[in-house]
Amino acid sequence: MESSQGRKHLFDLKIPLGSLLGFYGVLLLLYGLLGPASVYTKSFNVNVNIIWGILMILIASAFLASSYLGRSTKH
């Protein structure tokens, strides 16, 4: 059977992963800012959506940036 050893293939996973987490981050942040405050009685009035939204945006940016830098050093 054919061997495909050494052939760099597949696209960079960091792009869909970063996009998904980035989308979640923005969504949570917006919902945390604009949504009803009543839902946070469950979490002792801590608006976890804002905190988690920002955190996820940071993680997503790290993935997307590292993917972008990785590509530009190769070429």
Partner: protein
């Protein structure tokens, strides 16, 4: 029955975005699938950070998460044994000692190694039992998932089963192992990001870690102290059972020979990366208790039905449904938004668990059953196509199993039990195969068969009718694994002494002493040995801290 959790449009948007991205990723991988190796082994081209996270996630299925949270609510911090002693030594052993044989011999599956090292019969026994068990387990976990989503969200069993089956079918059909691995990495992040808020808000509610310690029984905070005798701890296991049964046989049997996990390491870009895969994975593995053990302890501290300290459980009579511990934590403490993320994390681990089973099945089916016994020596494209058909068949068979289990719920425990018959002894066959060049082909076959039969004998003839007693079901399970392993080990050696050996030239690359020592990575951070030492030190330190 009203659902425990009510999701709103934000939660559903989060769930839908996950489903869409998995299908897009699967479809986008389609054009890279040119040969059977691309489809079954990702063309052996993935970097070790991806294979490591997939290696870990393949074992972090939702059933496992729910079950381990339940264990922690029931037994406390003893549950860490499944993550530390019950995983780390085996992962290190795989990376340092076994991976060179798996990767350098260019075998494409675990059964194929058995064929090269022993004979066709040993491969056949392992391939058939693995293929059948994998699909049955996939069906069982699909059913369990459907039950959970019915309880949680009120979805019907059929709609959960169809949703997961269709999504998994689409992405594995197009992208093979690469799809499966990419989804496992996505799942890794979702399950951590989804469960950490429960820990954060829960700790906030009990007043930090000290507050948690004050509210749970003292024995819940020690991993080894209650282990001096089986009677002293709620798990009913002594330290010998934990070390031999869980730490040695079950853990090594699972992490070093189960193709579902080994396949992830085989997909690495080179030998050094393949060896680093389980070693790098051991670090997040040690930290998994943060998202499974702490929520279980928090459930004991916060939810009245699990309060053991106050005696509510002991006196109340009714045993709480420990499996609902995590879901009740979601329901009580997660506001909408973050709630959707947690549920998506669970759904993701269900789906990737199922996809993992399906990809391991289609590889073993195509290479070790179809390509070895049914149609040999066909062009590569033929096997690629067969892999895709096997994916469809595998998913349909899993759906069928899910419906059969629905009518006979007791089957579920039964099949999980039978699975251990096949898994436990296999490690003896590998250990002797890789490190003792005098082990003969028929020694391997009869050793493996004896191990399986010994496990069955122990269960059906000795344990079930009550001839031997154990303090708990778990202790019985640990000791059964140990005796099955011993039977395999002894029979393999005895039969090897009386049967014909293989030529040494046929064993090159397969056995220790006949294989060139692997070339380690160039820098310290690329050397597998470096990571093995760091990982081992960290594991010992954690055990001492939570002594």
């Amino acid at each position: 029955m009203t659902p425990v959790i009510s999701m709103n449009f934000i939660d559903y948007t989060i769930l839908a975005a996950y489903v869409i991205i998995t299908i897009v990723v699967g479809y986008a991988l389609k054009k890279y699938m040119k040969t059977s190796e691309d489809f079954f082994l990702s063309g052996r081209s993935l970097p070790s950070w991806i294979t490591s996270l997939a290696f870990l996630s393949a074992n972090l299925g939702a059933l496992e998460v729910i079950g381990m949270v339940a264990n922690s609510a029931k037994y406390g911090i003893l549950t860490v044994h499944f993550y530390w002693i019950g995983a780390i030594p085996a992962m290190i052993f795989l990376g340092i000692f076994m991976m060179p044989f798996y990767y350098s011999s260019r075998v494409r599956s675990v059964p194929e190694y058995l064929k090269l090292r022993y004979n066709e019969a040993t491969r056949g026994l392992n391939a058939l039992s693995f293929a059948i068990m994998t699909l049955l387990m996939s069906g069982i976990s699909m059913y369990a998932m459907a039950l959970l989503f019915e309880l949680m969200l009120g979805w019907s069993l059929t709609s959960s089963i169809l949703l997961s089956a269709i999504v998994v079918l689409i992405y594995v059909f197009f992208g093979g192992l690469s799809s499966s691995i990419y989804n496992e990495v996505i799942q890794f992040f979702l399950i951590w990001l989804g469960l950490l808020p429960v820990v954060y808000i829960g700790l906030h509610a009990v007043g930090g870690f000290e507050g948690l310690v004050r509210r749970i029984p003292a024995s819940f905070m020690h991993a080894w102290q209650p282990m001096s005798s089986a009677a002293n701890n709620p798990m009913g296991v002594d330290w010998i059972g934990v070390v031999l049964g869980l730490g040695f046989v079950l853990s090594f049997g699972y992490w070093t020979t189960d193709f579902l996990v080994v396949q992830r390491a085989m997909a690495s870009e080179d030998l050094a990366a393949a060896r680093r895969t389980p070693l790098v994975a051991s670090f997040p593995k040690m930290l998994v208790p943060i998202i499974v053990v702490i929520p279980g302890l928090l459930a004991v501290a916060l939810l009245p039905q699990f309060k053991i300290a106050s005696g509510a459980v002991a006196q109340g009579g009714a045993t709480p449904d420990y499996n609902s511990a995590l879901i009740l934590m979601f329901a009580h403490y997660l506001p909408n938004g973050i709630l959707g993320l947690a549920i998506t994390g669970l759904l993701a681990s269900f789906m990737s668990g199922m996809a993992g089973n399906v990809t391991a099945f289609n590889t073993v089916w195509t290479y070790d059953i179809y390509g070895s016994y049914i149609k040999k020596n066909m062009p590569d494209q033929h096997y690629l196509k067969m892999g895709k058909y096997a994916t469809i068949f595998g998913v349909l068979f899993s759906v069928g199993t899910a419906y059969i289990v629905q009518s006979f719920p007791n089957l579920m425990d039964y099949m999980q039990l039978i699975f251990t018959f096949f898994n436990a002894p296999l490690f003896a066959t590998f250990l002797l195969g890789m490190f003792w060049k005098k082990a003969t082909p028929w020694g391997g076959f009869f050793g493996l068969l004896s191990g399986i039969l010994a496990a069955a004998f122990h269960y059906f003839v000795l344990y079930r009718p009550g001839i031997v007693h154990y303090p708990s079901e778990m202790a019985a399970n640990f000791y059964q694994a140990w005796w099955a392993w011993c039977a395999d080990f002894v029979v393999t050696i005895v039969v090897s002494l009386f049967t014909a050996k293989k030529e040494e030239s046929a064993l090159a690359g397969l056995v220790y002493g006949l294989t060139p020592r692997p070339h380690s990575g160039s820098t310290l951070f690329r050397k597998p040995e470096f990571w093995a030492v760091v990982s081992l030190v960290m594991m010992v330190a954690l055990n001492i801290i939570f002594w």
